[in-house]
Structures are given as structure tokens and as C-alpha cells.
Symmetry: C2
Subunit: 204 residues, 2 copies
Amino acid sequence: MKGRLYIVSSPAGGGKTTIINLLLEELPFLRRVITYTTRHKRKNEIDGVDYVFIKKEEFERLIQENAFLEYALVHGNYYGTPKKDVFQLLEEGYDVVLVIDVQGMKQVKQIYPDVITIFILPPSLEELVNRMKLRGDSEQEIEKRLNTARKEIPFWKEYDYIVVNDNLFQAKDQIKCIITAEKCKVSRFDLDNIKDESLKSLMI
Amino acid sequence: MKGRLYIVSSPAGGGKTTIINLLLEELPFLRRVITYTTRHKRKNEIDGVDYVFIKKEEFERLIQENAFLEYALVHGNYYGTPKKDVFQLLEEGYDVVLVIDVQGMKQVKQIYPDVITIFILPPSLEELVNRMKLRGDSEQEIEKRLNTARKEIPFWKEYDYIVVNDNLFQAKDQIKCIITAEKCKVSRFDLDNIKDESLKSLMI
């Protein structure tokens, strides 16, 4: 594959969506692959932007065809990342980012061990709750998501990188740096980046 | 050690000195450890800035005391990096950068396997020669340094990161990103960076 695959995970309210959107604007070689889901579309959601909404039968057919890089059944709804969309972009030379949870990360890592994984942490649990309140989550949702966060945060150690989001733009710049640094890694360096033939001949 | 140790190598004319000086200005937590040498000070050089100039007997006494992280005898002159200066800064929490050659890198890696190594490449051999001409190197010096470059460049594969210096500021920013990304690595993450105790308790 020419491109690199990234996973970004974070507890709800960690800021991952905003950060990824900023990154996608700044980095033309970076693409996000949208998750497929069978759950009902909410009013404020756009098909193909927030999720690709498909029917349960179709999702289960895709599972049978081994078409997902990772998928999960959550509260009766399926969520999954289509292999085809990911591998096509990687082949074209794009870097690809998936915004998925800890369980999804583990599934992808088994199929694609070269994946680079980033965990975004909120600066505190209090701040996490504040952010959920600010965006209008209900008390019940907040309690549920806080519980999920408590379960997910201990898995930070299984990631490659950790970014603490106490400042949105700093966190975004840190992830941008991670992507830049990964491009500079000798183990992944593409000699085609060297245009000068006399130099290249010394490097092979 | 609290800080991280970096090695930057590049062929003469690769731009390493300028780049490192820019980085040292921008990153207050980064320090350069100056190489000790027994060769004569040139007119434009400053003791303690370009090199620490010491007598041959003193250098050999320091070798006996195992005081160098790495050293070499080049054209009858010693060059070496004092362990004490490096470890003291690392203990204090500074990141430390050494500007040394391929052989020095190999020696340091044996003593300190955690070192992060960066190789700076010129965009072409032609450009390397141009830069040496620009800074007033003699024909003889250029030929000698070009030969050294030809011998050193094939070792790029033994480094962690490669940076192509076709634009000084871009190359500087790439190294800055490498340093930022290394700070985000889970394997090196310092939990003391987390101030919120409820969050920290989930991470231990």
C-alpha cells in the first residue's frame, strides 16, 4: 500500500470529530473513510458524511462477504468500516483515517498490523462532561457515555500515540506532527521521493 | 531518564547546523551537547559553541575514564561526546540533540538504545556541492567531503527518520514534528502530564 492507515479513538466528547475535520481541511493527502451503519439517521445527520446508512440485510450480506475491516453490533445496530473504501484510497496513495472505538481498533490491527493508532484524551473527566453538556447531550446520555469513557480510557496503552486535548488546535497540530513524522520514518520511506538519480543510486 | 536523546547526522553541506540552530531557538526544552575535540580552533570558531577545545592528553585521560558516549580519531584529531553533559541534561528533563556522524551514531546506539536517530539528506549531490561552494569550501575540501558523503549516505537505512532538506524551513519543521510525535508516543508517555486525578486513576 502506498498510503498509511491511521485510527483515531477517543471517548465521546474527547473532540475527535472536530480535530479530524480540521486535519482533513489542512492535509489534502488525508482522507476519512465513513462508517457504515444500520441505525436510523438522526435529523442533523447527513448520509455519506456522518455515516453511510444501509439496511440490516445489506449489512449482514456484507459481513458474509467479509467486506468489513471491522464491525460491531451496538444496542442492536451494526457499525462497520468497509475494506474496499479503505484499500482503494491507500492504493491511490492517500493516507486514510478511521474514527473508531477501541474494539474496532483491535479488529483492524489483526488484519492490518501496520495501522498507526492514536488515542485522544480529554484533559479531565469533568471537562468531558462539560463538553457533552455544551453540545446538548441529555443527563442520561452523559451518564452512559461517561461509563463508556471509563471503560475505554484504560486501553490507551494499546495505542501508538496519545494526545491530550486540552487545546483543540494544539491537539490538532500534534496529530498533524504524528502524520508528518510517520512520513519521515525510514522503515516506510518511499525512495520515489528522491528525484536526483545520483543521490538515489547511493540509497538503494 | 526524563528527556529524550536525539542524534542528527548528515553529510557536510546537508544543512544540519543551520537546522539545529533554528530548532534550539524554537524549542526551549531542547539542548545541544557540544562535541569535545583536540584539533586546533579555527579563526571563526568559538570555544564552547562550535566545539569544546581540549588538549590531547586530557582527551586521552577522559577516554581512560570511559567518559565519552562516543568518540573518534579523525586525521589525527579526537572528537567525542561527553557522557556527563548528556546524562545531566536528560536527567533534568531536557531533550538532548547530538550532531554527530554515522560511526558516532552506532556507538551511541550500543550504549543508549533508546536514542532517536535522524538522517538529513540534501536534495541532490549537485546541491550539496553548491552549498559547500557557497560557504567557501576549497575544491580540495569539497572533493574530500563529497567522498565522505558518498560513504555516509548508504547508512540512511540504519536511522529511525529521514528528512530531505530541499527547503530549510520545511526540513526544520519536519524535525520539530518528529520531536513532537516522539513526545506523544505511548511507550514514552509520562503520566505526570495528566493533572486530573480521576482521569489519571483510569490510566494507571
